[in-house]
Symmetry: C3
Subunit: 465 residues, 3 copies
């Protein structure tokens, strides 16, 4: 990995970028939103093998290989019917190496190379020729204590890391972490999608389970809301400082209580059509905002994805296999009900994410550049990449500034890639700031302060960590 | 302010940009569209104080501070109910200084620093530490004759400046300017929104007032059209060369006369639903185009904003408080009725503005690169910024060229910032042209000619000034 | 033409771009999609004169001149009613020269200058002063054997060139080419729009003609499908390796056979409303995909244009006069029926084109970065330009990589501009790769391989040429 990677080619700009990066390269990692498995930190067991660590759970890698004609069975992705799939991790690894050219200029390539180099000491470019040697080296590392989850967590300099659990999760792993005496800060995040989205398979069973967990009558509107508030408190006891909401759209609603109650009745009775379901999700975002004002949890809204677009993949392999596709998004009308109710309250923080980059300059920056309750989350998913980050800063900053954004999220389940992902963000932010300095748009002392804010302080502050 | 600000960092490109900028830096300012107050030039009274000059009327500044948790009352923004707000301009000024970091890398920062340096001689970066000293210096300046409106107008090198008045405006200030013997060219612009948009509060009263002003029976379709034509003539007598239309969308219509008359009847009787209102606005754009072919006024269409998105702000403080939010826009279908009627006539000039940048390359450049009646206005509002201007040139030029654009508009009510805004546009255009020259896409002698066209000649020609 | 044109200004990046370009500058041209006239190659007659070769058929040139107030009659564009238009090619040529400034920074300018220099040896910038001399030089060239179509084809280094013919085309010119003994590879492409789009004027007559051509009963659903399959085979016999579909939207459908048959009945009886017509076009895309899996033809989908937007132009001059305007596009929902049926089959190749750049990163790259059957075509039409190509690579690559794209298409009827168009694409791709190398995002040996893939190998492979 070249030490100047991702910095501008112009020597003057590059020198500034280097100086800024020197200020942030070693800062602790604050990871306020992600999908690592808390069991790793609770029980600190070795990771199984290179393929199960780096290939099988990484939907970025799966999707690219699948697009190039590799079958998911060959990659060891388990079939829902238990049918046979590749069981030899080395053969899976070789398949990645054979298709390594397909990852050229993708962020997956950057993350992998950084992880392989910094975590496992592999500095050669992956190829069919060295695939076995690289595999052996990583496999060997994984047997050693310094490659167990907690050791890596500490080596990565992680100050705080948030996982994401569903509202019905017993939070046992988080309890185990706290009771273990280990001092790493791993907190949970409250994700209530399966109990607020009527389109979730088994929605009513979920609502009933929510009642069992909390002792509330969740088939009544009042009991349902009380149960959600109780689960939020339980998550806060497991360290949560935030909620996360994965909705198809950013639609919000603010119905009169009696109407909301009637809607809930239809929804829980399974009588809700698509419009009702959408309205109910929207109403629940506003209810969550109301609860956030009461308990202080920061809200995150990740909207605008068509999940499991590929019917065949969904049927054979299930969700999260790389076939989620973004859709056009709209925030101006959709958020208005919630904003009319709570948008002027600076005690609320609602962080918006989008996969529709057209909304950056047209909707999100104008909204977050006005409403005290709104912040814009970092470039998400397909846009968590060098070009994606540039577009984000270029489209967001002039209208919303830096201080209506919230630093970086790695949003990953690929634990070894966390330092790589933060490093890419830090480098690109320094490159972006270097251009502003080189073009005399801000002064270098200001850029230094902003660089530290973007790399560290803004995430900590926005997520109340 | 660094003399090379906003120029590319690459030394070769920067040298070209400097040479081009040297050709345009001193050109007179043509400001064909804006919102300064003609009373300033009519009566030439001193500006009251730094906060009332630079903070309270600037919705860019208000919105950013509000987003960061500053209340509008603290900024001295008058409440509609006359309730108490901050009255000490110095305290307002200090609040801006305390939040100055929030403006990093925004155009407001560029405009402010340029104005403070060039107009008031303040070259230190604003901060809480120097806020009082800067305030005192500007306040002192404002007491002196060379900081009165006419003196600044002349010092700024303004060749022509257009204000914008509603159709019912008596145009007294413009009359006073002409009768004063002062030679500065300040003209009005005809903005008929309140008498053509049925959704305007008090629409029928406005239509009746239009009748009183013109002696026409404006409750009849024929009288209403005649009254509008008469007001256009009155505006032309006050120097107007253009009309301006602020519509929610770019919808146009071309109804048979009898249907238009019936629609007008419904609208003026208050019987119009949302569809009727939208159709009527669309019809009136086509009527205005027809009148433009008769009287020669250039048309401007500013569409695609959700005004007063924040219900609470609207209720307490009213309009133009920084809570207008852009929406998705559409021109291809919306403009077709008007274009089918008048789009092929090169005697008509209809200048299109957008806040939805996706329309630059997809709709506006293809439309303006074909129809002789269409031109594309400069990047507007949230996009009147360095990055916004780059995106505009990069997306518009290859399909529409430079000669279907119309130079720069400052579109501002912040009078001291006018030279700063034109300077930013000139610098970015020179930077853009420098890149084209450095990449051998055009020759430098051509770039020089284009630079002067963009800075000066195109606006003069397009607006017939 | 400067030898470094379109390369980045930074000396380090430029040096890399030069080295990469040296690898691809001389590669043969593979032109897998375009609109040249096969009669040129069949009969090898001289081109008539400079205006008829370079101006009259070029809708890019017509549209820009028309937007600047030049009438199409003055440009010699034939009127549908046979009314008088300019007949002197020299006067047409002079009009272009007088408006040459309007083309600054447009791709038309780049293509023209390259063609004039490399094909006709004209190295001075076109101007009113030299218009006649340039005209004379080109006119003189056109009389000479080395400027006949086949000679130019060979001089251009064209390895394969695809034209596009409608499903009813007798393919006589292609037959003549093959029978002539000339060894240039000119193949056809199957474009069935006029027999699958019910909105085509004369649709039923076209379907009947399809029956006459194939001996099938095309008024029955089964016979209609058999006739289409037969025409596909006939096109394959004329070298076709691909089909091309120009639809208003990307809508697809996958109806049960009985419903499809009923819909066909309504459509062919002229009883189809707009929804039926759209549904039928969508169904036919899926039928075409099914046939592609049987016969191996690659599918291309060019959607999202409002053809003949200008009613007056359409009435007086007909189609393809520069008044086609892009519209907002949607692929995620629209393609799902086809993809659910065939998207997982790597034997199918469906190449998607768009004029709505917002779909690059939001829809096309995620879709093509997952489905094995999908590929993204190069930037099309208004985006076949330096800036358009940069935007394409910047938005597509990080999610879809290079290997879900298919190289370059010139898509032109302007034969002399083919080398220029490929050269622009090769230069921009090398510039883009040079930046990746300079920023240490890929290694230079990889960039070299990618450059050759983008310039040559990907098109050949994707189109099975």
């Amino acid at each position: 990995m070249h030490e100047d990677r991702l910095f501008p080619a112009d020597p003057g700009e590059r020198a500034i970028a280097r100086r800024l990066y020197a200020e942030v390269a070693g800062l602790p990692i604050v990871s306020p939103h992600g999908h690592t498995d808390p069991a790793w930190f609770a029980y600190d067991e070795p990771f199984p093998n290179p393929a199960e660590l780096l290939v099988v759970p990484d939907h970025y890698v799966l999707r690219m290989l699948y697009s190039q004609g590799v079958r998911l069975e060959e990659l060891g992705v388990p079939r829902s019917d238990g049918g046979p799939v590749e069981a030899d991790p080395r053969r899976i690894w070789r398949l990645v190496a054979e298709h390594w050219h397909a990852f050229r200029a993708t962020p997956s390539r950057l993350w992998w190379e950084h992880s392989l180099a910094d975590v496992f000491g592999v500095t050669d470019r992956l190829s069919p020729a060295n695939a076995d040697a690289v595999y052996d080296r990583i496999a060997d590392c994984l047997t050693r204590p310094e490659f167990r989850p907690r050791a890596l967590f500490e080596r990565f300099g992680i100050e705080a890391l948030a996982t994401t659990e569903g509202a019905l999760d017993p939070l046992d792993h988080h309890r185990a972490i706290r009771e273990s005496g280990w001092t790493g800060r791993v907190v949970t995040t409250f994700r209530p999608d399966t109990v607020v989205d009527p389109d979730t398979p088994g929605f009513k069973r979920n609502v009933e389970a929510l009642g069992e967990l909390t002792g509330e009558d969740t088939l009544s509107w009042r009991g349902y809301l009380a149960a959600l508030a109780a689960r939020r408190r339980a998550f806060m006891a497991a360290g949560a400082t935030a909620t996360d909401h994965g909705h198809p759209t950013a639609r919000t609603a603010d119905l009169p209580p009696a109407e909301a109650e009637v809607l809930f009745g239809r929804v829980v009775d399974g009588l809700a059509g698509p419009d009702d379901a959408e309205l109910f999700r929207g109403q629940m975002l506003t209810e969550m905002a109301r609860m956030s004002l009461e308990d202080g949890l920061v809200m995150q809204l990740h909207s605008g994805v068509r999940r499991s677009h590929n019917a065949w993949i969904q049927g054979v392999f299930g969700a999260n296999r790389g076939d989620d596709i973004p859709t056009r998004s709209e925030f101006v009308h959709n958020l208005k009900p919630l904003l009319d109710r709570f948008g002027n309250d600076p005690r609320l923080t609602l962080i918006l994410f989008t996969l529709d980059e057209t909304t950056y300059s047209r909707e999100l920056a104008p909204l977050a550049g006005h409403y005290p309750a709104l912040r814009i989350g970092p470039p998400w998913w397909f846009h968590d990449s060098p070009e994606g980050m540039w577009r984000y800063r270029q489209r967001v900053t002039e209208t919303a500034g830096f201080y209506n954004t919230v630093g970086f999220n790695d949003d990953t389940r690929a634990f070894p890639s966390i330092p790589a992902r933060h490093d890419v963000a830090r480098r690109i932010d320094c490159a972006f700031l270097a251009r502003l300095v080189a073009e005399h748009r801000i002064d270098e002392d200001e850029a230094r302060e902003v660089a530290v804010d973007l790399a560290y302080r803004l995430a900590k502050r926005a997520y109340r960590l």
